[in-house]
């Protein structure tokens, strides 16, 4: 579905973001990651794929191939879309067990983006992570 998780891994993102000092470079990079995330087909931008967030909208589509889960996600906001790419780099193409074992809070803490996972942000990101974890749990 996308190169995130296969070509671009969570380790790559941690690596790249560690080079940047200021917020401007970091956000620029995140926005660019979002631009690399393939746009979701309009057919999927429906209520049933919508992850509720207070501010921007997030859509998530999943598919299981053999023992691996693949995800496609999109948002109507640039920065959130970039953050979705960051999340998919960790989860896409992984087994349900890998997904459940992955320390997403630790990952975001390392990226210095943990505030984006907080419940107050209302950007749908936390809900999307929870949705992915539920999908992984159900796939067992």
């Amino acid at each position: 579905m996308s190169e995130f998780g296969t070509e671009i891994t969570s380790a790559d993102i941690i690596d790249t973001l560690s080079f940047f000092d200021g917020w401007e470079e970091r956000y620029k990079y995140i926005i660019d990651l979002g631009k690399e995330l393939p746009e979701l087909d309009e057919a999927y931008k429906t209520e049933s794929f919508l992850v509720r967030g207070c501010q921007s909208q997030v859509w998530l589509v999943s598919e299981q191939r053999d023992d691996r889960l693949f995800f496609a996600a999109d948002s109507d906001a640039f920065i959130v879309k970039g953050l979705l790419a960051v999340v998919l780099a960790a989860y896409n193409g992984k087994t349900p067990a890998d997904i459940q074992a992955f320390d997403i809070d630790g990952y975001f803490a390392e990226l210095n983006l943990l505030n984006h996972l907080s419940a107050t942000r209302g950007n749908g990101l936390k809900s999307m992570v929870q949705r992915i974890q539920q999908i992984a749990a159900a796939a067992h």
């Binding site: 917020w23 401007e24 956000y27 620029k28 926005i31 207070c54 501010q55 921007s56 640039f78």
Partner: protein, 411 residues
């Protein structure tokens, strides 16, 4: 030393707000989310702390000095708030948790007793969800209908449409005094007599107006008026509901418990008098005392001068925003509080909000709990910068610099 209070000195006011003296993300905080909640002056913080430090006790029932003192302060706060909105009597000022609870009390208690199938409740199309959903809930229970009052593309109530809508089946007009999402000031002084002429009651949601100019419930002749403490420099979790005496007397209690009864037996319970009939349980004593301190704060300077100051900031910000380009204003009513709501031609409002936050500028983005008007305008939400009396031109300049950077970044 006697300080003349006729002048409005922003620098002196600003110094009373300790929270504004901090840095966020390495930048001095620019707090422009005042329509969501205002910051608290030292005097309010002290009133709350001192209550707990010296006077804490349960009210109305203790046989000891502390309880007497707490009761005196708590009831004194009620008198002060009642006078602040010119209520005819202190019993008509009921403590609530805030605007939302005030509307819920009226919708549940007055609404269930007075609405029946086919009756109509009018709310404006730009209401906050808190002035829509409680009415929908009572409508579901009673068969009444909740209808929007049309709002123009500028964010102004369509008075001629309202006149058409008003008939004998309209039992309630529930209206925000000021739109939280757009800042539009609604002409409640014109609407209240229109609604009354049709036989409807009127509830005014003053959450967004109470901090900006003096309100007089008798001059307005509204039937109910609700507001929140935290949007007028007071604490969260406290607010008030004013109602006309005969309406409050006739309304059944909202919640049962202690305080709200005169006598209880298994044969039957007699309810307490106003205002206690509506104040079951131990109230938010510290909140009421803190809110009274907020009223004293508001009475410590020339409020008209403060309003002129806010309006000047709004005009300056709107002019600079239009000069910058790419951020179209949403809500262009000629009568507005100092709320600047806008979208972005090249990004989502949330992107703009996140970039502003990185630069220490606090705004709100989203639908502002007013989804119907956002849907009407066909936008996902707005960026909302809302100014208070402690904001200054420097805050406006920092907002503009941060927006210029957001434009560079996202365009």
């Amino acid at each position: 030393m006697v300080i003349a209070l006729s002048d409005f000195d922003v620098a002196a006011i600003r110094k009373q707000f300790p929270i504004l003296q901090q840095e966020v993300n390495g930048h001095p905080l620019v707090y422009l989310d005042n329509a969501a909640t205002t910051q608290k002056p030292e005097s309010v913080i002290d009133a709350i702390a001192n209550y707990y430090r010296y006077d804490n006790s349960n009210v109305h029932r203790g046989a000891h000095a502390l309880s007497d003192r707490a009761t005196e302060k708590f009831e004194g706060a009620r008198v002060q708030l009642a006078q602040f909105i010119n209520a005819p009597a202190k019993e008509q000022l009921l403590w609530t948790r805030g605007t939302t609870e005030g509307i819920n009390v009226v919708a549940a208690s007055w609404g269930r007793a007075n609405l029946s199938a086919g009756d109509r409740v009018l709310v404006s199309a730009m209401e906050h969800h808190s002035n829509i959903v409680p009415w929908q809930m009572v409508a579901e229970a009673t068969g009444a209908i909740v209808e929007p009052i049309a709002v123009t593309a500028e964010g102004v109530i369509d008075l001629s449409a309202l006149r058409e809508q008003l008939d004998e089946r309209v039992k309630m007009v529930a209206l925000g005094h000021v739109s939280n999402a757009l800042g539009s000031i609604n002409p409640v002084a014109d609407i209240i007599p229109l609604a009354h002429a049709a036989g409807a009651k009127v509830l005014i949601d003053a959450a967004q107006s109470i901090a900006h100019w003096p309100l007089d419930v008798q001059a307005l002749d509204c039937d109910f008026l609700v507001f929140s403490g935290h949007k007028m420099f007071g604490p969260t979790g406290i607010g008030a509901l004013y109602g006309k005496r005969e309406l409050l007397e006739a309304m059944p209690p909202y919640q049962g418990g202690g305080e709200m009864i005169e006598s209880v037996s298994f044969a039957g319970t007699i309810y307490n008098q106003l205002p206690y009939k509506f104040e079951a349980g131990t109230p938010n004593i510290a909140g009421a005392i803190g809110l009274a301190a907020a009223v004293s704060f508001l009475q410590s300077f020339d409020r008209e001068a403060a309003d002129r100051h806010e309006q000047a900031l709004l005009r300056s910000a709107e002019q600079q925003l239009q000069a910058l380009g790419g951020f179209p204003l949403v809500g262009t009513s000629r009568e507005k509080t100092a709320v600047m709501s806008f979208t972005c031609d090249f990004a989502h409002p949330q992107d703009v909000g996140m970039i502003l936050d990185q630069q220490g500028v606090a705004v709100r983005t989203g639908n502002h709990c007013a989804q119907p008007i956002m849907d009407q305008f066909g936008i996902p939400g707005t960026v909302r910068a809302s100014f208070s009396l402690y904001n200054n031109e420097d805050d406006v300049a920092k907002l503009m610099a941060a927006l210029a950077k957001a434009k560079m970044f996202l365009a």
